[in-house]
Amino acid sequence: MDIAQQLPALVIVLPMLAAPLCVLIRHSALCWALSVFTSLLTFLSAFGLFNQVRADGVIRYAIGGWAAPTGIEYYVDMANASMLLLVSFISLIVLLYAYESVKKSVVKAKHYLFYAAWMLCLTGLLGITITGDAFNVFVFLEISSLSMYMLIAFGSNRRALTASFRYLIMGSIGASFILIGIGFLYAATGTLNMADMAGRIPDAEAQRAVLVAFSFLTIGLMIKSAVFPLHGWLANAYQYAPVAVTAFLAGTATKVSLYVLLRFFFSIFGTEYSFGYMLLNVVLLPAAIVSFILLSLVAIFQSDLKRMLAYSSVAQVGYIVAAFCLATEQGLTAGIVHIFNHGIIKTALFMSVGCMLFRLGHTHRNSLDNLISTMPFTVVAFIISGLGLIGVPLTVGFVSKFTLIGAAMEKGWWLVGALVLLSSLFAVIYIGRVIEIMLFRKVRVNEPAPVGMKEAPLSMLVPMYALIGVSIWFGVFGTTTLSVAREAALVLLGGYQ
């Protein structure tokens, strides 16, 4: 077996293999070790793949040996190679972190199911990203969704169940819409392979079926990536899921859906069709703007940190979608770079919130008085990544917001640029208030100090700081991610070869 040649398959096969093995092993620690090891190998494969793509361009891997439109293929270019890297990296980091928090929040007898579900979720997300076949997207979307419902339902509060159920209803409607969209595309073009489809759509464009397919895919993917009017499922799901799951999902799930959105709008339908003929901007841009303005405002009024960050996630998705709406190389670059940066920051934030949850047992903003004295490392981590979320210079958030505003200016959309700044101001408020409470507010006198308060365990702090290190690195040396994002944007705008 030639490893270098099999990398695209290994990225999927490894986590897929780990899930049934977890079910067979059924030992909590061993399952965790297996999952971490698998995530590591997957990450290394993704890294190898990324380097291959960077060196040699697009990789096409015909599964089953059947050449492209007849069979299913993996189609790896810069855009999805970097997504694979992001997803597998976040999975690795969060899994390392998860051990303690899972041990505390999940019944021991179910640990193996938890890790199996995690591996399945990883498989699904990577599978959506890497595939070059439209129907295959649906299949892997369902793998990731079902395992997500299960992971969310692991939450200790009973509201995790209703959150999971509501997500299931919304997610099933979204997936069904995607299925309808793919069906109409198939009717119009006769093919399921994305590259082949992209080649055939120009001839079929006049058909109404393509228009309907476009609308249904848009709505389905908007549900899945939680764009404004369809974001309802996200807040509860993020708030009540176990915190490790929230950290993982916040960094990957909506991002992968956004990637699929990109793929369909820019590579398959083509920029011309999506934005020139369908006037996607008319629908999507207002939704995006409302997302980042309104939900940043909503975030200010949340007293629970997890819920606040969940709303902030929807707002950030708004930035990314607004960047896509620019439909220029610069805008797409900003969107993609923000997918990465936000994935990293939000995961780090949820991890630090998880540390607080681990020690305090809750995450109410108003009871975090003077937390710095008891949990200095956690608080510092929260502050650093919070600054990144706001977009302070020298953080990753700055890189992406700067690029986004630059792109808006370039296109002459001054208002959008201004609104992004305004919404950053809201972010200053909601993050700033938490920081203020944690740093300066004195412990109220008549409240007994929490017993046994100490810093979160090392096994949680180390992965968290590793992630923060990465975010600082990419904040200072933003050109690396920017150049990758630019290459990805060019690939997406260029369509399929």
Binding site: M1, V13, P20, L21, V23, A62, G64, G65
Partner: protein, 143 residues
């Protein structure tokens, strides 16, 4: 009263006892005849499972569970996925792409035959195990 209770569903029980072997046989037929007629691993799995479900409905879950124990089900569930994926991994180890059954034999057509056979078996095993375990989960209200 006791006598009456015991005799209550005698007809159903006898009929079911007669039917179940044929259902299993039919499931096997569907599993292995899927290449030539309608059917395949998935349908066969569901039929296998429905035989056990029928048994559970008529004779009670306790008895069914002593035939097909929950831990066995869990193993089978994972085993089916492993058979399917294992076929893919074997083809990769033999130097071909994932799930390229042509690698399994010298003649690609024979390879396809072997591959599809193995894969359908995997599908059948997982589907049977999952469907029966779903029935167990949803039917064990008073256990």
């Amino acid at each position: 009263m006791k006598l009456y209770v015991r005799q209550r569903h005698r007809v159903l029980q006898v009929v079911t006892k007669l039917i179940i072997p044929f259902v299993l046989l039919f499931a096997l037929y569907v599993q292995f005849h899927g290449d030539y007629g309608p059917g395949g691993g998935f349908q066969a799995g569901v039929l296998f499972a429905s035989a056990f479900i029928l048994h559970g409905l008529i004779f009670g879950l306790q008895r069914t569970r002593s035939v097909l124990t929950p831990s066995l089900l869990r193993v089978l569930m994972a085993l089916g996925v492993l058979i399917y994926l294992g076929t893919g991994i074997v083809t990769m180890l033999l130097g071909h792409n994932l799930l390229d059954y042509a690698a399994l034999a010298a003649n690609p057509k024979t390879g396809q035959h072997w591959g599809i056979f193995a894969v359908e078996l995997g599908v059948g095993v997982t589907v049977t195990a999952v469907m029966v375990s779903l029935f167990y989960s949803f039917a064990s209200k008073r256990l």
